[in-house]
């Protein structure tokens, strides 16, 4: 029988070396062909060296271990290594993959080795598409809404957190962004912003204004029925146009 070969990927050196050492003592016949420090390196290593097993740290710079397994699906068996079980790792056990929690213990690694040996006999490599999909969903997601606004300011680019913005107002070619620190001009249009911002937090209140609902202190209503928005710690007001008055009806 040809020797079983593996690669290890982890961005932290001590952890890489530790796993390598443990494997060599618990599974001396296993040949560790190489170690990778990030996801992309791991992927090219899998493609070039065609190992039987890849031990992949889940959080690595660039590509996560899950991304690597998705991209190299079917190429080899995967064992995920992670510092804690935030990724609903019990899913691994039901499916044909395995996982290790750091710090890796001898007992746990022995179990994994036994399972890997069994699986290596039963070819072919199982299809992991389903479980990997579920795992990526469990990974912390980048929010899909705009969280930061970049604005040219003096000779640099200011990064303004969406939470700090009181309102956006359309002015000629630009859009004015109002924060506690002052006003900034950006090129994005209100229409574009409306699509990208979190609609639960940012409300269109006027043809020319979007407001951060979290920073509204109160909405005054005049005898004529015009609603005016007032903010915490800010002298500026915004008028609500009739078309959007329904947003504040119950307030």
């Amino acid at each position: 029988m040809k020797p079983v070969r593996a690669i290890i990927a982890d961005d932290e050196e001590a952890l890489r070396e530790h796993l390598k050492k443990k494997l060599s003592s618990l599974w001396p016949e296993l040949e560790v062909m190489g170690v990778a420090q990030d996801g992309e390196a791991a992927l090219s290593m899998i493609r070039a060296l065609k190992p039987d097993i890849a031990f992949l740290d889940i959080s690595m710079p660039g590509m996560s271990g899950i991304d690597v397994a998705k991209a190299a699906a079917g190429a080899c068996l995967f064992v995920f290594v992670t510092a804690h079980d935030e990724f609903a790792v019990e899913a691994f056990e039901r499916e044909a993959v395995d996982y290790l929690l750091k710090p890796v213990t001898d007992e746990r690694l022995t179990n994994t080795i036994r399972r890997l040996k069994e699986r290596l006999v039963v070819a072919p490599v199982p299809d992991l598409t389903g479980v990997l999909e579920r795992l990526s969903r469990a990974l912390p997601k980048a929010p899909s809404h705009l969280q930061w606004i970049k604005a040219q300011h003096k000779d640099g680019v200011r990064l303004i957190a969406a939470n700090d913005i009181y309102f956006f107002r359309a002015t000629d070619k630009y859009t004015t962004v109002r924060t506690r620190d002052g006003e900034f001009l950006i090129r994005k249009t209100l229409k574009g912003l409306e699509n990208e911002l979190d609609p639960a937090q940012f409300w269109r209140v006027h043809r020319a204004a979007i407001v951060n609902a979290r920073l509204i202190q109160k909405v005054d209503r005049s005898l004529a029925g015009t609603r005016t928005i007032r903010f915490k710690d800010l002298p500026d007001n915004l008028t609500v146009s009739r078309a959007y008055a329904h947003l504040f009806k119950q307030m």
Partner: protein, 372 residues
């Protein structure tokens, strides 16, 4: 009479509350009438009581009328002026109403009983101001109390956040996994790492429990944190701390810089394949202290997460401690990464920054000195 001065109370003006104030107002007016009648400065108790009620309620309603303006005023001086105007207007209207109610014709009353008229107006103003003053003082005290509570709350949140980030599973388990893995292969480094971890826990916990700390102590926490990550990330993380000797003792609220450094490492350098450098630099310029945390990491994408509870807390604590004078500015760093700058007033040049912002004369004096 002028109870509605407390803003928060008044925001929910209910019929019940309005009735309670009216009754209180009527009682105070009656007491005042007794006092004036008692010292013998009146044309009989009934006349005085009618005057007192008319004036009291006029002032009460004037204050109600100016309340929306009052609530929008942010400065104490403006608020006092608004109330003073309301008291004066209320006193005059009340006196005229009182004259009517007592069966005088106002113009005739003004002409024929000028001495009495002045006396009534003076009493109206006197009591109006005294009672307004009492209520304003009470409301100022309650605002100071609210501010103190806000400071305490924000500090507690910062402490809680620290504990959360120390106990954050990824940080905790990864650090311990590193120590564990080094125990066999490199016991010396394992020991060093454990010591650094303990030092980080100890300094950060101690720091979080103070109201303000010297800059050098805060940067100690930062240094331990970065040392720990340097051990983990190896050559991918480099750092530099530039703290001029003269700024070591500058006092800042605790754990103001640490979250910025944490963001730089977590969101800037850890996700970067090549890693990078974090620089923390403090400087004194234009009567202000500036602390910059710069990283050369992956930077912030507009849709990226982590606009963060950490940053919100830093910003809020700056606002509470220093008002307009405390700022947190986040910028893109060139060629890559993020630059976060904290700006606070230089405490050497003013004692209570929030109320007494810029001691301009001193600056002027030192400039003149230089020229000589």
């Amino acid at each position: 009479m002028i109870e509605p001065l407390d803003k928060r109370e008044f925001q929910q003006l209910t019929l019940k509350r309005f009735a309670a104030w009216s009754v209180l107002n009527a009682l105070i007016n009656t007491v005042i009438a007794f006092i004036i009648a008692g010292v013998g400065l009146s044309k009989g108790f009934a006349v005085t009581l009618i005057f007192s009620q008319c004036i009291g309620f006029s002032i009460f309603f004037s204050n109600l009328a100016v309340l929306p303006v009052y609530q929008r005023a942010t400065r104490l001086r403006t608020q006092v002026l608004i109330v003073a105007a309301a008291v004066i207007a209320g006193s005059i209207i009340g006196t005229l109403l009182g004259a009517l109610a007592n069966g005088f014709r106002p113009i005739q009353f003004f002409q024929e009983h000028f001495g009495y008229f002045t006396q009534v107006i003076l009493f109206a103003l006197l009591f109006g101001f005294v009672i307004s003053y009492i209520f304003i003082s009470l409301s100022v005290i309650s605002e100071e109390k609210i501010k103190r509570l806000e400071v305490e709350k924000a500090a507690m949140e910062a402490e809680l956040r620290l504990v959360q980030s120390q106990m954050e599973p990824h940080f905790l388990f990864n650090t311990l996994a590193n120590v564990r893995s080094l125990i066999d292969s490199d016991p010396r480094r394992a020991g060093d790492m454990l010591e650094t971890f303990v030092a980080f826990l100890r300094t950060s916990l101690r720091t979080s429990r103070e109201r303000t700390v010297p800059l050098v102590q805060e940067l100690d926490v930062v240094k331990n944190y970065l040392d720990l990550f340097t051990m983990r990330m190896g050559s991918r993380l480099r750092y530099k701390i530039e703290l001029p000797e003269a700024l070591r003792g500058v006092r800042i609220p605790p754990l103001l810089i640490q979250p910025l450094v944490e963001n730089a490492v977590k969101h800037g350098l850890e996700p970067s394949i090549d890693g990078g450098e974090v620089t923390i630099a403090a400087e004194r310029a234009d009567g202000r202290i500036r602390i910059k945390v710069t990283d050369s990491g992956v930077g912030i994408r507009e849709a990226a997460g982590g606009s963060g509870i950490g940053l919100d807390n830093v910003r809020r604590r700056l606002a509470i401690m220093y008002g307009e004078l405390g700022r947190l500015v986040i910028e893109e760093n060139s060629p890559s990464g993020v630059k976060a700058t904290i700006e606070i007033p230089d405490e050497l040049k003013g004692t209570t920054p929030h109320h007494d912002p810029l001691p301009v004369p001193e600056v002027g004096a030192s400039r003149r000195g230089e020229r000589r």
